[in-house]
Symmetry: C2
Subunit: 379 residues, 2 copies
């Protein structure tokens, strides 16, 4: 078999691209998936290959509800979950069913760059709202809500991609209060909720919902495997109805019933919990390595230690433009994501996003040394 | 474990619902999927769990291109394929990327009822166009195209669901010619293309494309397993670009890379071909049983023998309303899909759709006998 590109990230030999926001391939649990598959196979249920329920596999929702209840230390019922094909598919479906072209969606500045692409594909009017070290700033959001009357507010309230910050409980309550006054829905992308390297964060936004205003989005991509394309919506039941009534999920028989069945076994066997624990240990160490190396080799970078997630969001001193360094960095065989990518208003030029999950420790240090050379020295 | 509903079709004990358009659970190839999985596992490639390419798994596209080339007896290249999460997801994405609310889509009368739901979810203006025993009638379509200036024409050109008919080569050429004159795209839902019980049908619509006007949609749902949520677009490369450039597939890393890898093994090992052959033999026999039973027990039903697919599309004599029999049928523990469901203009009241793939022979006969009682006798 010829060598062909299989995965999305394609890095030339020898390059360390700290811009890639993915788990390292070595951390993907093929053996655990095999155990889960064998467990399914033993049950001899060809039904896992049939059209499934629009709301998603019943066993997965039951197992996941139990898993999340333990993880959040807060009760989650299977009826409040809808299985999705990952957060990307969920965002896409959500735009289809809840918006029309020209509707306004308010996003954080910065925000997840590919979510912005999904919103653009749906021709939404994207308006940015500023954040500080505690996530989105409520009075600033209120101003924009009054001015733009958004249909949706898209937030990444926990271990933000790229900013790393987490919205405290008080702001979460304030956000929900705003949503009831100004009649918008909150879409909370909580893909990193369970990847905590310190005290647990506040519970997901869905727990703050007092009036059917919040859809929390979760995913197996960061805690098990992205290639499964499996995630969930967590919301009050009535908010989920438009989704399980929609044509695409009715016609297709729900999202990924086959994978859902295998993952339900992975949860039942304790493999998901084991995998999550392993990732947390690994990523904590890698985060520390990256942060230490940055402090040592690039003291002119400002950043705050993230308590979870995948990323360091760092600002160059003197408002230097990150994009202007990209080419130089490539000469030093190192890459990163420039901040402007995460801006809905063409800002954030002096920021860069560095990921600590795709490379092991020694490569992270090597990458930082190269970046230091690109920033400081000449070639 | 409590008994819970797993599959989409939920039929009360003892009822024979000839309306269900799904494969029988017993025909779903769990053992073959296990062989394919073991083949993947032996290759020890955790990459199958990673974010994949937007266009879809490269191995699947290569294997599928070879498989389709043999099946169609016409060359298909991997570059002309894009992996989808099944036809339902493909239709949804297609509406997002190629239409705006209020755009017109022309559909056949009758058409696949859940596709109509997807189009409604995208707020399209749905216009029906009549068919005869050879599929859509070109002069009638031309009239509607002139009047409504559609963005898309959605056709099921082969073993139509529900009508069972197939569009001949000449009409396919005429349809493409119209699309170039009146500037619309043809979306061909060819989910039953490979399920032929007689001479092969004309090749997929994509082979008739002379001017980047046709997107052919295929699926593993009917030839392997619906629960995989895996299918493909087949079109000239430039037509596929908006899809692999879109936010949802970029963010998610393509459609279902894990399943795609397993299915690529199923093709490589010859299991897909074997499964398809088994289904064709089984379904041919079931079709014949259903047709014979209908002729014997319900002579007042008019239908033509379908040469492929899942369905008999039958008309009640004397323009009797099929819906009016539904309740009576339920008293006789038998079900069907009333024709009106497949109409975009609230017509087709005297038709019913009967599926011959979900039940084995004796149940099909039993179902027909019950239907005959519901139609003719009193309870």
């Amino acid at each position: 078999m010829n060598k062909m590109q299989i995965t999305q990230a394609s890095v030339p030999e020898g390059v360390i691209d700290l811009g890639i926001g993915q788990p390292q391939v070595d951390l993907l649990p093929l053996d655990k998936m095999n155990l889960a598959w064998e467990h399914q196979l033993k049950q001899a249920n060809p039904e896992i290959l049939q059209y499934g329920l629009q709301q998603g596999d019943a066993r997965l929702r039951r197992e996941l509800a139990g898993f999340l209840t333990r993880a959040y230390n807060n009760a989650v019922g299977p009826e409040s979950l809808l299985v999705t094909g990952g957060i990307s598919q969920a965002l896409d479906l959500l735009c289809t069913l809840l918006t029309r072209p020209g509707d306004t969606i308010i996003v954080e500045e910065p925000s997840y760059f590919l979510a912005l692409r999904i919103f653009r594909d749906h021709h939404l009017n994207i308006v940015g709202t500023p954040m500080d070290e505690n996530g989105l700033i409520i009075p600033a959001l209120e101003e924009r809500v009054k001015q733009y009357e958004p249909k949706l507010v898209y937030t990444i309230p926990v271990y933000h991609n790229p900013a790393g910050v987490t919205l405290p409980a008080q702001r979460r309550e304030d956000l929900v209060r705003l949503s009831t006054i100004f009649d918008f829905l909150i879409v909370a992308d909580e893909v990193y909720q369970l990847l905590s390297y310190a005290d647990p964060p506040p519970p997901p936004m869905a727990f703050f919902d007092t009036a059917e205003r919040v859809i929390s989005l979760g995913s197996f991509s960061k805690i098990l495997a992205p290639g499964l394309r499996l995630g969930w919506m967590h919301a009050q039941r009535q908010l989920l109805e438009p989704f399980w009534m929609c044509g695409a999920l009715d016609s297709g028989g729900g999202s990924n019933p086959f994978n859902a069945a295998i993952v339900s076994s992975a949860i039942e066997l304790g493999l998901l919990q084991e995998n999550l624990q392993h990732l947390k240990t690994t990523y904590t160490a890698r985060r520390d390595v990256l942060c230490r190396a940055l402090k040592e080799h690039i003291p002119q970078l400002n950043f705050t230690l993230p308590h979870g997630g995948f990323f360091i969001w760092a600002e160059l001193a003197g408002r230097m433009a990150a994009e202007s360094i990209l080419e130089k960095a490539s000469h030093h065989d190192v890459g990163f994501q420039p901040g402007v990518l995460f801006s809905s208003m063409n800002g954030l030029g002096s920021f860069l996003r560095l990921c600590f999950t795709y490379y092991a420790g020694e490569d992270l240090v090597k990458g930082v040394r190269r970046l230091a050379q690109a920033l400081g020295g000449t070639r």
